[in-house]
Symmetry: C2
Subunit: 355 residues, 2 copies
């Protein structure tokens, strides 16, 4: 049926029966792995790593060579889009991403444009292409993007922010201007994800990292609304196969019902919510992805196993669950503990899936 | 009845009728006020400001001289308790609070003790005393503490943290040790708040700033449970007057029902939840304090007024609402906008209170 040798991840997202609960980790290609650090050192800097398809492919595959993961995720950065819009992305050591030309005025907003997927963002598509070829059906490849609101926070703040004073100041004071930014981002993201699908992504995920910083009303107007537009603009089928869409608002558990209504196949969950409770709230509408606290990985293989068991039991019988952490894996985690986590999910989940 | 010239704040917390919705701002004595900056400059550093009752009194009163606020809050730091336990609190410019002796081992935990409220923490009580005398019934004085879990995060991390790797690692791996820390903190906090009440605090508030970083299960076991112990240990009456207790877990909106059951008079709300929705969920059990996004204050007096109107309307008729921001006021806010906020609450709330 499928060209995929392991299609558990896709099947669980589409709520089709699986033999074991599939598992992957956000930021699985990352600094906790010595082999990642070696490739990054070779690249010189983070942006070169993202922009060199051979190196992006190398780090995307690394965790799969170490662990029996059920999905690969494109190695890239969420800020490729504003970078392609000429905001001048750079990374300063220890301070995270920065933009040399943040958005400050209506004139800056008017300069935003939908970048070309074969030009400015061609390197992303080259990486998707190369990873897909390299994977050769081993596991599905996840394409991804940041949400419009999340990208806008960096574009207006000029980098990371603790309290979002600038971007929210603009949202409250100049809502029309903010909507103009979000609109061009949503249009771009539709093309961006569709191009990733075209080049080989078998599922796509929207990371709404900062949607949880908004009020209920503003979350709906300034974040969820644009993610819905994106979901509606995606090509959900490729070569007769469905392309599942996952949406994840960190800190957004209180809005699950609204999230389940925008047409996605699955919702990501952070660790603050009990997954059984989440399943009750969304019913059959969507699959769920999550949700172990990444900090459990600081403990022991035994404790990790216990926590995996608790989450599996809370979700209960049947498909529709992709196991993951509730946020990206931290850089100081022992790779052995990550392995214990992945093995525990496979082993302990079997009884929840009927033969 | 009351020695208070303005007792709206106390009355609203106790769900007694009021003429207007009372309002105060978390961190109202803070860097957005030029007069605060002047006093802080005089003090030299932040800890001296906290530890000198005359200066703490001065900054506590400053916002009351500028705005018609309905409550004063003790100017102090949430980390006075671990400082009194000899963890060596200091502030490094731009990096926030740090401890020179963070908790790393069982031996460190065994050294923790309940500090003396007249010795190590005597300066806090002296400040409460002096502020209370200085206020002379103008408005009620709020005493406060950090929650055990929140204090523990700083004590184990050695300062602020983004992902709580150390403290959660300890919680997952050494739960007994973590409970021992939380237990000595809860015992201390009961004495600390009771001493503040004894010295003149007319209401008390527990700030659980980092409870929202926990899973539902761990929030209940490692944060809410200890706050309940504290609430049960407090002297809730002084000279025949009730002392209301407010509890605020930032990022904790999903657990409102459980919070409303620990015996507090009121719950603080951050801005992510619609206050009308929160009121429906907690019913008559508790009053609510909140919840405008502090970032609204970056906009204009007109926009601020509009947002105040929306929140008042969402809460609806009757008492039981103390207006506040959903988190502390930011340092770059224009003091005029803070004034517009406070005036808007008083003016626009009258129709919601029957004569």
């Amino acid at each position: 049926m499928s060209h995929l040798k392991n299609d558990r991840f896709i099947r669980a997202l589409l709520k089709q029966p699986v033999d074991q609960t599939p598992v992957w980790m956000m930021r699985q290609a990352g600094r906790y792995l010595p082999e990642y650090k070696a490739t990054r050192a070779k690249a010189g800097d983070f942006l070169t790593l993202c922009k060199t398809p051979e190196l992006a492919t190398e780090v995307t595959i690394q965790p799969l060579d170490r662990y029996p993961l059920d999905a690969a995720i494109l190695f890239s950065d969420i800020l490729t889009i504003p970078d392609a819009m000429n905001l001048g992305l750079y990374f300063s050591e220890g301070e995270g991403p920065k933009f040399s030309n943040p958005i400050k005025s209506q004139a800056d907003v008017d300069k935003l444009f939908v970048p070309d997927m074969t030009e400015e963002l061609g390197y992303v598509m080259a990486a998707v292409n190369m990873i897909h070829r390299e994977l050769d059906g081993r596991v599905p490849l996840i394409g991804f993007t940041g949400s419009p609101w999340t990208l806008a926070t960096y574009m207006v703040e000029g980098g990371s922010s603790k309290d979002f004073g600038k971007v929210k100041g603009m949202m409250y004071d100049q809502p029309k201007m903010m909507h103009q930014i979000l609109d061009v981002l949503a249009k771009t993201i539709i093309q961006y994800l569709n191009a990733q699908i075209e080049h080989g992504a078998e599922a796509v995920m929207i990371f709404d990292t900062w949607g949880g910083a908004l009020s209920t009303r503003d979350y709906k107007d300034f974040s969820l609304n644009y993610m819905q537009q994106i979901v509606e603009g995606l090509n959900r089928e490729k070569d007769g196969k469905k392309i599942p869409v996952i949406m994840f608002t960190k800190g957004g558990s209180q809005w699950l019902e609204a999230q389940a209504d925008i047409g996605v196949d699955a919702l990501g969950l952070d660790w603050t919510i009990d997954i059984g409770e989440a399943r009750k709230r969304v019913g059959d509408k969507v699959a769920l992805q999550g949700n172990m606290d990444p900090c459990v990985l600081y403990s022991t293989p035994e404790r990790i196993r216990e926590e995996v068991a608790t989450i599996l039991k809370s979700y209960g019988n049947g498909t529709g669950h992709v196991f993951n952490l509730g946020h990206g894996i931290h850089q100081h985690i022992d790779p052995e503990n990550a392995g214990a986590f992945i093995n525990a999910v496979h082993e302990l989940s079997e009884p929840y899936h009927s033969k």
